[in-house]
C-alpha cells in the first residue's frame, strides 16, 4: 500500500469567529474502519463534511488518494456519504434511488439494472427495487442509503451518525452488518458517532475529538485501556479518578494514591507522559474486585463500606467509600451464581491490580 488514502494536515475551519476545527492532522489508511468520536459540537461532523467537500477548510491541506482536494467540489470527489437522515429521494423508488449516481456513468440499461440488483443484494434488500421510498422502515432506508453510496465504488465511504435514528436492537444488528460490509468491499469507512460503545465495537482506529481538536487517535483497546487525557478517559466508558502524589524515578513512577495507598507504575501506564507532583490516577470499575467468600484477592486490597448500590441485572455497580478518598470508588461486579448483591452500608473489601492504573498529569 502506498501512503494513506486520506491525509489532513494543519486543517482549520472558522465560521466567523467560531473556531470549529483546530489544527487537524490525520492520516487514514486504505481499507481502514476509522471512527470520529466526540460529544455533539466537537467538530466531528464538520471534519467529515470537510472530507466530503461540503465544507471548505479555512486553512491546511486535505488530500484524497494523494490528490489535493482544494477547490474540488463534493460531486468530483472519490467519496460517498451516508447521511444522518439517510436523504432517500422521496420522489424515486428504491431502485431509482440506488441508481441515482450511475446517471453520469453512461451504462446500458441492462448493466445498470444488474449493478442495482447486486448492490441491493449486498445490503440484503433483494426484490425491494420497486418499493416506494416512503414505504421503508428506518433500517431499510439505511440499507438503501448504503447501497446508493457503495454502488459508485468510492475510495472512501463517509457515514454521518448513520445508526443514531434506529432503535437499540436494530442498531446492534446494523453495527455487525456495517462491519461485515466494510470487510467485504474492502474500502475505507469513516464513521462519525457520539456513541463510544459503537466506536469501540466497529473501528480499527478511533479519533476522539473535543472542541474542534483531536485529543487522541488509537485502536479501541488502547484507547480504552490507556486513554491519553482525563477528558478522553471520562468520555470513553466509566473511569474513577483518584488524586495522587507521584514521583518519577527512572522508568518507574511511584504514586501515593488517596484511598488505595502506594503503587508503582510503568511508563506505559502514563500515555499522556510521566509526571511528578499532584496528579490523578485512573482506575476502571471492572478492574476492581469486591471480595466475597468466592473471590481470592489478586494484587492489593483496601477496606471500605458500600455507599450506594445500582443493580443492572447482568451487573451491579457499587460506590465504595474508602478512608482518605473524598468521592467513593465505583466498582462493577458481574452477577454470577453464588455471588450475592451487597446492600448499602455493608462492609466491603476491594482488590485491585496496580497494572490497571493509568496516570494523568492533570
Amino acid at each position: 500500500m502506498s501512503g494513506p488514502i486520506i491525509a489532513l494536515s494543519g486543517v482549520q475551519k472558522y465560521y466567523g469567529d467560531y473556531h470549529a476545527l483546530r489544527d487537524i492532522d490525520l492520516d487514514i489508511a486504505e481499507a481502514e474502519f476509522f471512527s470520529l468520536l466526540g460529544p455533539s459540537g466537537c467538530g466531528k461532523t464538520t471534519l467529515l463534511r470537510t472530507i466530503a467537500g461540503f465544507e471548505e477548510a479555512s486553512d491546511g491541506r486535505v488530500t484524497l488518494g494523494g490528490r489535493d482536494m482544494k477547490g474540488v467540489p463534493a460531486n468530483k470527489r472519490p467519496t460517498n456519504m451516508v447521511f444522518q437522515s439517510y436523504a432517500i429521494f422521496p420522489h424515486l423508488n428504491v431502485a431509482e434511488n440506488v441508481a441515482f449516481g450511475l446517471r453520469k456513468r453512461g451504462l446500458a440499461p441492462a448493466q445498470k439494472d444488474a449493478k442495482v440488483g447486486e448492490a441491493l443484494t449486498m445490503v440484503g434488500l433483494d426484490g425491494f427495487g420497486d418499493r416506494a421510498a416512503h414505504a421503508l422502515s428506518g433500517g431499510q432506508r439505511q440499507r438503501v442509503a448504503l447501497a446508493r453510496a457503495l454502488i459508485l465504488e468510492p475510495k472512501v465511504l463517509l457515514l454521518d451518525e448513520p445508526l443514531s435514528a434506529l432503535d437499540k436492537k436494530m442498531r446492534e444488528q446494523m453495527q455487525g452488518e456495517l462491519r461485515r460490509l466494510q470487510r467485504q468491499v474492502g474500502i475505507t469507512f469513516i464513521l462519525v458517532t457520539h456513541d463510544q460503545e459503537e466506536a469501540l465495537i466497529m473501528s480499527d482506529r478511533i479519533a476522539v475529538m473535543f472542541d474542534g481538536r483531536i485529543a487522541q487517535v488509537a485502536a479501541p483497546q488502547e484507547l480504552y485501556r490507556r486513554p491519553g487525557t482525563r477528558q478522553v478517559a471520562d468520555f470513553i466508558g466509566v473511569m474513577n479518578f483518584l488524586p495522587a502524589k507521584a514521583s518519577v524515578s527512572g522508568a518507574k513512577i511511584t504514586a501515593d494514591i488517596a484511598g488505595l495507598g502506594h503503587a508503582t507504575l510503568g511508563v506505559d501506564q502514563c500515555p499522556g507522559g510521566a509526571a511528578s507532583g499532584a496528579v490523578h490516577v485512573g482506575l476502571r470499575p471492572e478492574m476492581v474486585t469486591l471480595l466475597y467468600y468466592v473471590e481470592a484477592a489478586s494484587g492489593e486490597t483496601a477496606a471500605g463500606t458500600v455507599a450506594e448500590q445500582y443493580y443492572y441485572g447482568d451487573m451491579t455497580f457499587y460506590d465504595v467509600a474508602l478512608a482518605g478518598l473524598e468521592t467513593p470508588l465505583t466498582v462493577s461486579m458481574k452477577n454470577v451464581v453464588g455471588r450475592p448483591v451487597l446492600e448499602r452500608g455493608a462492609p466491603a473489601v476491594i482488590s485491585w491490580d496496580p497494572r490497571a492504573l493509568v496516570l494523568f498529569s492533570d
Binding site: 463534493a74 460531486n75 467519496t79 456519504m81 429521494f89 446517471r103 416512503h134 459508485l152
Partner: protein, 266 residues
Amino acid sequence: MSLRLYAIGYLIFLYLPILLLPLFAFNDSTIIAFPLDGFTFRWFVELWDTPALHDAVRNSIYIAVLTAIFSTLLGICAARAAAKYEFPLKRSIMGLIMVPLVLPEIIVGVSLLVVVVQLLQWELSTWTVVGAHVLICTPFSIAILNGAFQNMDTSLEEAAQDLGETPFSTFRLVTLPLVMPGIISSLLISFTISLDEFIIAFFLTGAEPTMPVYIWGLLRFPQKLPAVMALGTILVVLSILLLMVAEYYRRRGLARAGLKDKGGFL
C-alpha cells in the same frame, strides 16, 4: 346540534349568492327578480355573440398566464434564497417583500398609475397590467413556495451532489420535482388572483379592457345583467374544476412523498 345548525347557516350565508348566479343565468327574463320565468339558454347564446367579451376574456387570460409565470419565477428565486442562504437583514427583506399582501389595492393602483404615466411616461397597455399583477401576486407565490422549500430536507440536495450531480442538475433532478406541488399551487393561485383583479386593472388597463373591467362596464346596461350572470356561472364552474385539478395534483404529490394529508382545499 346547535353547532350543526350554525354550520348549515354559515354555508348558506357563504354560498347562497353564488347559487343565485346559475338560477338567473337560466331565467327567461331581463329583470333579476323572483318569481322566475321560463328556462332559457338565451343569455349564454348572447355571450357567444358578443365579440367584445371574447376579446376581454382573451386579454384577461393572457395577462393571468403571464402574471402566474413571472410571479412564480420570482417566488422560486426568493423562496430558494430564503431557504438556502443566510444574508444580512434576511428577515426584514422577506418581511418587506410580503407588504403588498396587505396594502389596499386602491393605493397600489393609484400610485402605480402615477409612476407609470407621470414619472415613466409609458403608455398604458396589457403589459402595465401584467407588471402590476406580478407586483401583487409575487407575495402570494413567495408565501406558498417558502413552505415548499423550507419543508425540503437540505441533505437531499447534498446527497445528489455527493452522488456526482452538479448544482444545476441537482436542482433539476431533486429540488424541482420535490417543490413541484408548491409551484403548481403558486401558478394556479396567481392565475386566479390576476384573472379576477379589478381595481388595479381598472387604473392601468389600456385600450383593451380585462374581463372584470368589461363586466363592470356592462353593469351600466340593466338588460345585459342576465348575460353577466351567465358569464359568472361559467366562471364558477371553471373555478371549481380548476380547484379540483389542483387538489388532485396536491394529493398525488403528497402520496408520492409519503406525507400525511393535513388539510388542503377540498
